[in-house]
């Protein structure tokens, strides 16, 4: 037997009830996993079924062939992070999880912007790109592709700058993160 409910319809406010420990900030989890089939599916499935929403996710190799690194970010205002990490730890293929402290971490993402500019605006766009230390990687008569590397904030700032030019499309990789100092992440 599930909930008995009542004959009254449920209000949306009632549906939004419930809560647990929320940190209220963005969290970057660096996760080492065994490089086996289905691991990503297990992680994604866990998030879906526990109602956790992933903001960004990147997966890549490490210096050990048998191990991959998953870097994912999620909003601590929406999720009890300790539950997320504890549930992740229960996955047999997950070896290590680190919840990276923002001030002790270097994070980067790569973004490509395809902007609709012709000759008249190209110079201005190149200036903006210069300021953001970006690179022009493709030019046609009616478009330019810019490559930007940096923190999420920087990528978003660049986006707001180029949007008025006419943003055709944008690709972002999601963040990777590494801890500062001598120790391993």
């Amino acid at each position: 037997m599930g909930e008995p409910g009542t004959k009254e319809p449920l209000s949306l406010e009632e549906l939004e009830a419930a809560g647990s420990l929320r940190t209220g900030r963005k969290h970057t989890l660096s996760i080492l996993v065994e490089n086996k089939t289905g691991v990503l599916s297990r992680i994604a499935g866990l998030f879906a079924r526990r109602g956790f929403n992933i903001d960004t996710l990147t997966v890549g190799p490490t210096d050990d062939d048998a191990i991959s690194r998953v870097t994912l970010t999620l909003d601590g205002a929406l999720h009890p992070i300790d539950q997320v990490t504890k549930q992740l730890h229960k996955l047999v293929n997950v070896l290590k999880i680190r919840d990276l402290e923002p001030e002790e971490t270097v994070t980067r993402e790569l973004a490509l912007f395809k902007v609709a500019v012709d000759g008249s605006q190209r110079g201005e766009l190149m200036q903006v790109t210069e300021i953001f230390r970006g690179k022009i990687v493709d030019v046609t008569k009616r478009s330019v592709i810019v490559e930007i590397t940096g923190t999420t904030e920087k990528v978003e700032a660049f986006e707001s700058m180029v949007r008025p030019f006419g943003l055709i499309e944008m690709m972002r990789t999601g963040e990777i993160a590494i801890s500062r100092g001598r120790g391993e992440t």
Binding site: P4, K7, E34, K86, V92
Partner: protein, 558 residues
Amino acid sequence: MRAVDALMECLKAEGVDVVFGLPGGANLPTYDAFVDAGIKHILVRHEAGGGHAAEGYAKASGKVGVALATSGPGATNLVTPICDAMMDSVPVVFITGQVRTELLGTDGFQEADTIGITMPIVKHSFMIQHPTELPRAIHEAFHLARSGRPGPVLVDIPQDLSRADIDYEPVADIRLPGYQPTVEGNQKQIRQAAKALAAARRPVIYAGGGVVNAGAAAELTEFATCDRFPVTCTLMGLGAFPGTHPQWLGMLGMHGTRSANYAIDEADLICAIGARFDDRVTGKLSEFAPRAKFIHIDVDPAEISKNVPAHIPIVGDAKHVLAKLIVEYRALAPDGERLGDWWKRIEGWRERYPLSYKDSEDAEIKPQYMVQALYEATGGEAIVVSDVGQHQMWAAQHYHFPKPRRWINSGGLGTMGFGLPAAMGAAVACPDQLVCCIAGDGSVQMNAQELATCAQEGIPIKVFIMNNGYLGMVRQWQELFWDRRYSQVETGAYPDFVKLAEAYGATGIRLTDKGSLVEDMKRAIETDGPVVVDVKVTREENTYPMIPSGSAAREMVG
């Protein structure tokens, strides 16, 4: 040897003496290997029956149960038992056949993405991609199923790989670097817990199925009697503490006793052991035990502070942690007298609110009395396997379990159809013990086909059907919460369970008289082979007391 012959060697090395299953195309090689393997295989009539039988076997024996099915529909029929085993932490290894590797992903005949379908409901799963992986996968599956917080593990074997010839060498080690359950428990935390308990004025021990799984019932009793700690158990924990002990408050939660729920409500310290603060226990979470601090002992760190924040968390196996806690607590030599007032209050509730019901004035059998009669007829010494519904709650309330592994039911998932096949598995695991299944007339039909298995194998389960001609729990909720607008809950007088039992090769008996019920039940129990006893009970009886879903313990009704 063939990979499937290696599979048999692995099963034997794991001490498997019996498996439950049903063959099909994709696991033909496995079934060929069974012919010479010397492992007893019980042919079930539906894979779900086999899965639940493996659960019943595991719950009764404490060993890992094994269930087999073919690919596609065979595997999907196992989904309910797998999920049930996940929710109740039951160690079962499920071995499914899969289509040939060349057919994978092509929507081949009887192909289903078994690994994908079951991913959210397994502790772990292995898709065999090379035949040489099989032996290690089997041993790791058993290790995962039984250690830490137990659970279901699935191994999916494509048909062609299972026929492959491999060099089999026994696997001596387990390589699971990402899996290291914490067993011991932090000594400092345990000391803190002992101090908090020694200082508490209104403590309650709240024990769950984890105590049974850890084999820690003796430690729990010793710990509780270090002092006069009141003890309550969850539905899954019944038997972890003797149901006749003076410190026993009865079950807690939705259909628990008032003594247990009121004690939790007024407690200043709750020591949760192997329990997970399920919504059926807590009711309205924000009003659960509002005055209490919490010690939470669990082998699964993710359970700690999941629903209720723990003040003193202890990650570890209940058996280890309790053993240490006993030593620490005794060293403090606390004043036992301090609990005198608390016990006076509890005794007051016990006197005012015993579990009761209004008995019939004629021969009509009240469902509560039916459980009491079974308790008397069995001397309280049966393994009782319950299905899901009103009868389950009445059985939990009125049968007093002296020991762990005497009460087997589906708690977390609440799977109708669990009882009969699980009783079959329990009877296979414990051939020297009496196994009684208490079922409803609704739930028993969801796996009644296993009566044929029982008849064929001579598995002597005694099935007591509490027959009220309703899906009783749903009817109760419609009566109480939906203005008695009954919708699709009446099952009437169908089927005739006596004839059904006979058709399956079991003995069928119908009982309608309260006066001779105990004696009639004794006769049924003494009858050889599987017996189905159709007990006609009061049609519209409600399970009380009750905390309405989403309410607080104080708001108990009935």
